[in-house]
């Protein structure tokens, strides 16, 4: 199953974070709120968090859910989620 999650960087620190269903931002992709289909609510929550200055540079990414594990589709987002490969 593929869907979308919202990601951003924490404004104060810069750390990569993912939006959870509870409206928190988690450093762990596995905590992310996976939305399949209409993603307008995800977009709204993400931009609200930007306005609140919790995060910066928010956007949606495509992820795949395999055996209950979320995995980003693009190599770029996989590296973002896991950290540098070197």
């Amino acid at each position: 199953m593929t869907g979308k999650v919202a990601t951003a960087n924490r404004l104060r620190e810069g750390d990569i974070v993912y939006l959870t269903k509870e409206g928190e931002w988690s450093p762990n992709l596995q905590d992310a709120w996976l939305v399949v289909g209409d993603d307008s609510e995800l977009t709204t929550s993400a931009s609200k968090a930007e306005q609140m200055r919790d995060v910066v540079a928010a956007y949606l990414i495509e992820v795949e859910c395999i055996d209950d594990k979320l995995c980003a589709l693009s190599q770029r987002e996989r590296i973002r989620a896991a950290g540098p490969t070197v």
Partner: protein, 551 residues
């Protein structure tokens, strides 16, 4: 060594406090990200793939031990214990927190460093040969002119909103170690037949998506006219350079579209109006800056070169390192040491905080308190007495800094690529690591000889792939990493852009492809030819055939 004068110190401190206020206003919501972004970029702060990234200027790539210790301290306290030395003779920190950046900048200011001018459409920090002032065959010290240009251009009202960023390099020896022909302006110091000193002026080089080798627009510019001539070039650019399209805004595009002859004519006309005016370099000002760069007081040591030679015969590892990493100095009995930041399997250009401290200590004790950064992402101790070289080597050996590979295949330029960079298509660092491991055997590296591999993770070409003897460019094919290989480029005095060899290779294929290319060279080469010479003689044919089975 150069020290900031009072004006600069006040300016830098003022900027730090300004930025502190801007960060506070961003956090309190008075500033939107759009507004803040422009401000943080002017202070060298980017938002990268994983985190913020701070780019700190190292003017003409020279650091004191105290400054190096400060860089180590910042890595340790505010970052993840390392920094990355880049091809633009800057250092980048990959993990600073926004809230810490004002403090980092204040700490840098304590040692007369800053991050100003490392971004934005202004004249970027001016670079020079990393062997400036010590190279045996130097005409004049290029740093003097780099500094003159820096003082003139810093915050020059007319040139702080150019169509695009602008990069200048200066070189003072026959060997071009400053990559002049891939800069917006390259200045080669020359002596004319009358014995006068001046510059060959090259304009419109660059890399990125439309690479150009800069043509020469003036064979000889008497040195007192440097600034008026640069001003003329910049005025023409400011008037005619395209501002409508980011990719067409560099001066290289203007020079190419106007034609070299026409462009030269426009510059000369503009120059005729200002030549001999207030921009003429006054002799006393020239002297004043020259004094900043006066050579250190060398203490000769009796029998220095004899001790050096003895150690070389005793110790094979030491003698191998000397062969690649030690070169001769203006002053007999002294040498220039290049410290490789390319240990096999590490990220090219990275140095840990502890390594920075070791190097600072060595510079203080053995090299007149001075460290230089090369555009090939290595560090230099420029004034080491030959009787001390062995001791320096031992200390480097203990800090994993004695890799004997300068100029060899494992001494690659590599951009951060997809492991760190927001704009990347593909990873660069692990590609370099895999190649280095493949060619780990030092005898093999020496047999291959001078071979410069340069790797960029996207077409912006931060890794100089266009001018690699072998260039590797990361491209994206439907979300997968691929690598396009070019052959025959050079960023040196024999500058050229590489030719694309054929279809791109996948991540797992690229190391094998490089080995095929190197083996083909070894088969084709004639008595002592470098890779580049063989390529220029035989062309793409044999390499294509070996890689793809077609001639």
């Amino acid at each position: 060594m150069y020290r900031y004068d009072e004006f600069d110190r006040a300016l830098v401190l003022e900027r730090v406090e300004q930025f502190r206020g801007q960060v506070a206003r961003r956090l309190s919501g008075e500033l939107e990200e759009e507004e803040f972004k422009a401000l943080r970029l002017r202070n060298g702060l980017y938002l990268q793939l994983h985190a913020y990234m701070l780019r700190v200027a190292i003017p003409y790539g020279t650091l004191s031990s105290q400054q190096m210790r400060k860089l180590a301290h910042i890595a340790r306290v505010y970052d993840r214990d390392y920094g990355h030395f880049t091809t633009r003779q800057n250092i980048q920190y990959n993990w600073p927190k926004l809230v810490d950046v004002p403090d980092i900048l204040a700490e840098l200011a304590e040692v007369e460093m800053h991050a100003i001018q490392t971004s934005g459409n202004c004249i970027r920090n001016v670079t020079a040969d990393h062997f400036a002032g010590v190279a045996a065959d130097e005409i004049e010290d290029p740093r003097v002119y780099a500094e003159i240009v820096r003082q003139w251009s810093t915050l020059h009202p007319e040139f702080s909103f150019l169509p695009r960023k602008f990069k200048i390099a200066v070189n003072g020896t026959a060997q071009d170690r400053a990559a002049l022909r891939v800069h917006d302006i390259g200045l080669q110091i020359r002596r004319n037949s009358a014995g006068k000193i001046g510059f060959e002026v090259m304009v419109g080089g660059g890399q990125g998506r439309t690479p150009y080798i800069a043509p020469t627009i003036r064979e000889f510019l008497p040195k007192q006219h440097l600034l008026s001539y640069l001003e003329a070039i910049l005025r023409v650019y400011n008037q005619l350079g395209r501002r409508d399209n980011l990719y067409k805004a560099r001066i290289k595009i203007l020079v190419a579209s106007t034609g070299v002859e026409n462009f030269t004519k426009l510059v000369e006309e503009e120059w005729a109006e200002i030549k001999g005016g207030e921009l003429t370099l006054p002799e006393d000002e020239h002297r004043r800056i020259l004094d900043y760069f006066s050579p250190p007081q060398y203490q000769d040591s009796n029998g220095a070169s004899k001790t050096f030679e003895t150690h070389k015969t005793w110790n094979l590892d030491f003698s191998r390192w000397c062969k690649t990493n030690v070169v001769s100095h203006k002053r007999p009995g002294f040498s220039i040491i290049t410290i490789s930041l390319k240990p096999i399997g590490s990220a090219p250009g990275d140095a840990s905080a502890d390594q920075m401290d070791v190097i600072a200590g060595l510079a203080e004790k053995f090299s007149h308190d001075e460290i230089r950064v090369t555009h090939e992402q290595n560090l230099v101790l420029a004034h080491v007495c030959q009787s001390d070289i062995y001791e320096v080597w031992e200390a480097l050996e203990n800090a994993a800094l004695s890799t004997p590979n300068i100029g060899l295949i494992s001494d690659m330029i590599t951009c951060p690529g997809l492991d760190y960079c927001n704009l990347a298509n593909a990873r660069s660092i692990p590609v370099a690591q895999n190649i280095a491991k493949k060619f780990e055997d030092l005898d093999r590296q020496h047999d291959i000889g001078e071979l410069k591999i340069k790797i960029s993770g996207c077409i912006n070409a931060c890794g100089h792939h266009h001018v690699g003897h072998i260039g590797i460019l990361g491209v994206d094919k439907r979300g997968e990493e691929f690598y396009q290989i070019t052959l025959g480029g050079s960023g040196a005095e024999d500058a050229a852009l590489g030719d694309i060899v054929g279809r791109a290779f996948g991540y797992d294929e690229v190391t094998g492809a490089i080995e095929t290319i190197v083996d083909t060279y070894v088969t084709e080469r004639r008595n002592g030819e470098r890779f580049l010479d063989t390529y220029r003689r035989v062309g793409l044919g044999p390499f294509k055939e070996a890689l793809y089975g077609t001639a």
